[in-house]
């Protein structure tokens, strides 16, 4: 009696995505992440920049994310270290004050170095940071939604290096065992981890084959292609299996002098480097940068 009746999914998005708006949102997420990290000289810039389109697609279009809506979709940022991008997305869709972004990683801030549910209970579905943990929680959220007959889709973002954690594979089996079609796993696949290249440290390949062998509907896309992200993430709602989206990303995408370099996993740029990065990213059209004391950025 492990398999429960399936919940019919309501494919909620009818309107076509406004890709220009999403692109602009991704640009601002990048600007915010760089400025948050540089202003406080602390944070993980590479993964945050690399996840900008994924977060823009999810929160800018795909997800029903009103915290007051019990039918809302859930998002679990299992690779919690890229949370600068998450906080920026929250601010830019109006769930956080934009002015709060500057407090990232400071004492007494709600914007903890890794996402803390106790500080942001409406926005952070589960605290994350130590890798390999969030995905199991996402499955639990999906089971709870199914028990209650809610149509929520649970989107869980993991890093590719994170998939070296054994619990991720336990969770892959769980979602398959319970046929959790309401779970969408997104793998931010940038090929890098702190100590270097995933392929040389502990290879995940052939990742798509492995995921398929675990019973998952596997989609491989460019993780910076907003149209593809929207289409695949939206489509995952109606798959007859749990969906794994391998989103190929470039660490620190958008900032050429950082791109693809593992050293930018957890390093904060200097103010000069941040100014260069912001010049590379360029301005957004629809958003204003948050103020930083002294106007240093």
């Amino acid at each position: 009696m492990k398999t429960l009746p399936d919940t019919a999914h309501d494919p909620v998005r009818r309107d076509p995505p406004d890709l220009d708006r999403l692109r602009d949102l991704a640009t601002q997420i990048r600007r915010d992440a760089v400025r948050m990290i540089a202003a406080n000289a602390s944070g993980h810039v590479g993964g945050a920049l690399g996840a900008a389109e994924i977060l823009a697609a999810l929160y800018g279009h795909v997800m029903r994310s009103d915290p007051a809506d019990p039918e809302r979709d859930r998002f679990v940022l299992s690779n919690g270290h890229v949370c600068a991008a998450f906080y920026a997305a929250m601010a830019r869709i109006g769930r956080l004050s934009v002015d709060e972004l500057v407090t990232f990683r400071r004492l007494d801030s709600r914007l903890q170095g890794h996402p803390a549910r106790v500080d942001l209970p409406d926005l952070v579905e589960t605290s994350t940071g130590p890798l390999g943990q969030g995905f199991s929680v996402a499955n639990g959220l999906a089971l709870a939604a199914r028990l209650d007959g809610r149509s929520s889709q649970v989107f869980c973002l993991v890093g590719d290096g994170e998939m070296q954690e054994g619990q991720v594979w336990e969770a892959l089996m769980t979602a398959h065992q319970y046929r959790l079609m309401n779970v969408t796993l997104i793998i931010a696949d940038n090929g890098l981890q702190i100590d270097g290249e995933v392929e040389h440290i502990k290879s995940l390949q052939p990742l798509a084959d492995r995921l398929a062998a675990f019973g998952w509907d596997v989609q491989e896309i460019d993780g910076h292609d907003l149209a593809a992200l929207v289409q695949v993430l939206e489509g995952s709602r109606t798959s007859d299996r749990p969906t794994a989206v391998i989103a190929k990303t470039i660490m620190a995408k958008g900032v050429p002098f950082m791109e693809g370099l593992a050293m930018w996993h957890g390093k904060a740029p200097t103010l000069d480097q941040a100014r260069q990065a912001l010049a590379d990213i360029g301005p957004s059209a629809g958003y204003a940068d948050f103020p930083v004391a002294g106007g240093i950025l």
Partner: protein, 319 residues
């Protein structure tokens, strides 16, 4: 105390969970391939939709339970004590405790009396591991009657609970009228000469030791500290003030468990002689439960001797 019938505390847990499930449709249960061992198979039969077999994957089970709790359910995640607290410790710390998720981690096989399976399966440090987590309530009921009450009390409490049960059948020491309130210890026997504070099934040893001491005219107060965290400070204040000498008894290492908790508290309030009966910073081994308890010094005689030392220490300090 007359010889009592031995009742498996795990059975009481399993039956209570079924009754709780009838009362509260949000209660769900999970296990990591130990449904029958932890007696959660009755819940599975009664409420198949609300039962989740997670396979041999304890960290994933705890994480999934956290997700169920954050999604509004009241999950009881069941396995053996050593697996929940060591194998799955990261998930317990992050996804349950730090989230303040309403997960009840209900385990059997706490302590040495796991027996023949040996040191690998004997959780002798689980109470310490759970006690140090902020916001975690830590409970070990003394018998099957209390275990049933503990299940309902854990469910009524909003927040994470670690509920530790032993493997072996134990005598019934309480009845329906005995109170069971989380964080409120029960004084099971009055006395002002020494206080014996026990946790879990060790209450039986404490009561038998008190009887023995009584033959020598020593009146021992026996306190069932079924909730290790939050500790009942008032009960300890009273014992320190009125007895001035304490003995702790636990089927657990004396490092960081009941003895540690009591000593930590009294050191800062009313420094009192505390003698600890428990495992002395060593792993266990294979053997019958009784043989193990004897070898590792968790016996009525050990409690009696500890009580005499505590009294002597108190008297030496005050003269």
């Amino acid at each position: 105390m007359s010889p009592a019938t031995l009742v498996p505390i795990r059975d009481a847990f399993g039956k209570a969970l079924v009754d709780l499930g009838a009362e509260n449709p949000d209660v769900v249960a999970l296990t990591a391939d130990l449904a029958e061992a932890v007696k959660v198979h009755w819940f599975a039969e009664a409420y198949p939709r609300r039962f989740f077999q997670m396979g041999i994957a304890e960290g994933d089970m705890i994480g999934t339970a956290a997700g169920l709790a954050l999604g509004g359910k009241v999950p009881f995640a069941t396995t053996f004590a050593v697996f929940a607290t060591s194998l799955a410790n990261q998930a317990v710390r992050l996804s349950v405790a730090y989230n303040r998720a309403n997960v009840k981690i209900a385990v059997s096989h706490g302590g040495l009396t796991v027996g023949e399976d040996g040191a690998t399966h004997q959780a002798i440090e689980d109470l310490a591991l759970m006690r140090v987590l902020p916001g975690m309530t830590v409970v070990a009921p003394c018998d099957a009657v209390a275990a049933r009450k503990a299940v309902f009390a854990a469910a009524a409490h909003q927040g994470p609970v670690y509920l530790r049960l032993g493997r072996v059948p134990t005598p019934i020491l309480t009845d329906e009228t005995t109170p069971f309130e989380l964080g409120r210890a029960n004084v099971m026997r009055p006395g002002d000469d020494v206080a014996i504070v026990s946790i879990g099934a060790m209450l039986e040893l404490a009561l038998r030791a008190a009887e023995e001491l009584d033959r020598d005219g020593i009146e021992a107060r026996v306190i069932d500290m079924h909730t290790l965290k939050p500790l009942d400070r008032a009960a300890l204040d009273a014992a320190a003030a009125e007895c001035g000498a304490l003995v702790t008894v636990e089927e657990h290492t004396i490092v960081g468990g009941l003895g540690g908790a009591v000593a930590e508290y009294l050191a800062g309030t009313r420094p009192t002689r505390v003698e600890m009966v428990g495992i002395r910073d060593t792993f266990g081994e294979s053997g019958t439960p009784d043989a193990l308890l004897r070898k590792y010094g968790i016996t009525v005689e050990a409690v009696v001797a500890a009580a005499r030392r505590a009294i002597a220490g108190r008297d030496a300090a005050t003269t």
